[in-house]
Amino acid sequence: MSTTEHCPSEANAAIGKMRGPEHGPKNIDVSALVDTEGGLIDRSIYTDPGIYDQEMRRIFARSWLFLAHTSQFKKPGDFFTTFMGQDPVIVTMDKTKTIRAYLNSCRHRGVRLCRADAGATKMFTCTYHGWSFDLAGALKTVPNEKAYPEDFDKKDWSLIEVPRLSEYKGLLFANWDKDAEDLEDTLGDMRYYMDAMLDRDPEGTEVMGGVMKWELEGNWKLAAEQFATDWYHVNMSHASALMVMSPTGKGPKTEIVATPGRQYVSPNGHGAGFPTHPKSRFDAQAVHEHYDYEALRERLGDAAVEGPMTTGHATVFPSFSYLPVNGSIRIWHPKGPNKIEVWAWILVDKSMPDDVKDAQRLYNLRTFGPSGIFEADDGENWSEIQAISDGFITNSVPLNFQMGIGSEKEDGVYPGQTSELYSDAAGRSFYKHWSKLMNTPAWHEHPAPAPAGE
């Protein structure tokens, strides 16, 4: 399995004499909307259409975005369609078994080229006029090609390829910025926390079944930020779910409500929180019994097994989140300022026996599937925030992110800066990184060269 560390084809091919609009879109200075020192966030960042459009340009067009799991691609022609921000992309394995991603839009009249969610194909053929592209993105067939001018060259009309595609332990990420910092460097210390989910099994992980998709009212950041930083809501929002999960007749437990734990705070906007109390594990029983904890301690280290491998939560900036114990990986696809499309996969260790995988699948569905008892609580909160935020007065009252200000430190156990489990630290860092990107021109904003003769 290989990925295109650098785009083999010429992405963003010449567009002849076309230039974009004379003046690019107007950008909003967000520095007055995000106060990460004081822990205040202006609500307009969740509602303003101009800010949302700017996010597409300056966050999603330049960040490493999760695409899919490598186990979704086994042979040439296997494909999966998804989105990078609001841009539709086809992810496929070419004939050399390299995974590549292309803008899912025909170069002729722009129709969505591939309409299937996933499958296997030999060619991607547009349903409008029949332009047909091979697995390497090359335009192979143009019906009635003889009617095109002499200088029409199919090589100029390949699919637009996503220039960077990189894998981290089974997870595929892509970036429209060909000069972006490498994925591994962008993840930095976050890799240690991810490994507690991705590297438990020497065989690695795989996804089970299809992708679960559902829509929510809410801005994408509400979900991404919560998975980065928010254990605080657990005892209140999930009180009933926690009672259901508690051993029958044992009642509420102080060690669950007041669990100790840490929260990783990445300078690149990632975050991961996890209890460090062994009683805070909420595994499926069969999965718990499957694990050889001594071997895991040797493989990952004691701190990883006692911390990030437990009932944790995490976000890789900007929009990929996961829950290790629940075997849930998901992306928050933005669909306008007020809407999220959640795409969620069930992740299992490859060498788990089938009955253990199935136990993990059922546990995932029961807790964080589309109708999971925890998932429903979370979606309700985000939608309730969004439902009222168009009120003028409502939208002018800032939100509070002050918990644990100044608590970040290197604790000598967990890599990078960590805070308490109950803290807004990773949220503040998420928004700090967000506002830095929002206020910095992206790769595509360099002035276009003037056409010859001017």
Partner: protein
């Protein structure tokens, strides 16, 4: 009448798969695709779709039909008939015989007129 070419044994082409015998090997001016159809029999057509440039050997074999991988035209493997748009012209057929374990191709020997 051209002579038969031994293109291999019946195990060399899996059911539902096809192999291209290039023009320079088959003696005609066209590449020929030999299909192992889902009825267990072998059939051969000119490899290039009669609609646009595409290899039918890369297509999808269903029953005794092949669907072009590019524009989804379908051809009957037995008769070469174009079964649906956008193809309108039949694909040229070539006789195939199985002799023991061997698959024998008779380039340019039409099945339709036989």
């Amino acid at each position: 009448m051209s002579e038969a070419i031994n293109i291999g044994t019946i195990d060399d082409i899996d059911e539902g798969e096809a192999r291209v015998i290039p023009a320079e090997e088959n003696g005609t001016d066209q590449d020929i695709a030999v299909f192992h159809a889902e009825d267990g029999n072998f059939y051969a057509l000119d490899d290039t779709c009669t609609h646009e440039t595409a290899s039918l050997a890369d297509g999808w074999i269903e029953g005794t039909e092949v669907e072009c991988p590019v524009h989804s035209a379908k051809f009957c493997l037995k008769s070469g008939t174009a079964l649906c748009m956008p193809a309108t012209i039949a694909a040229r057929t070539h006789k195939v015989e199985v002799s023991g374990q061997d698959v024998l191709l008779y380039p340019a020997v039409s099945v339709v007129d036989a």
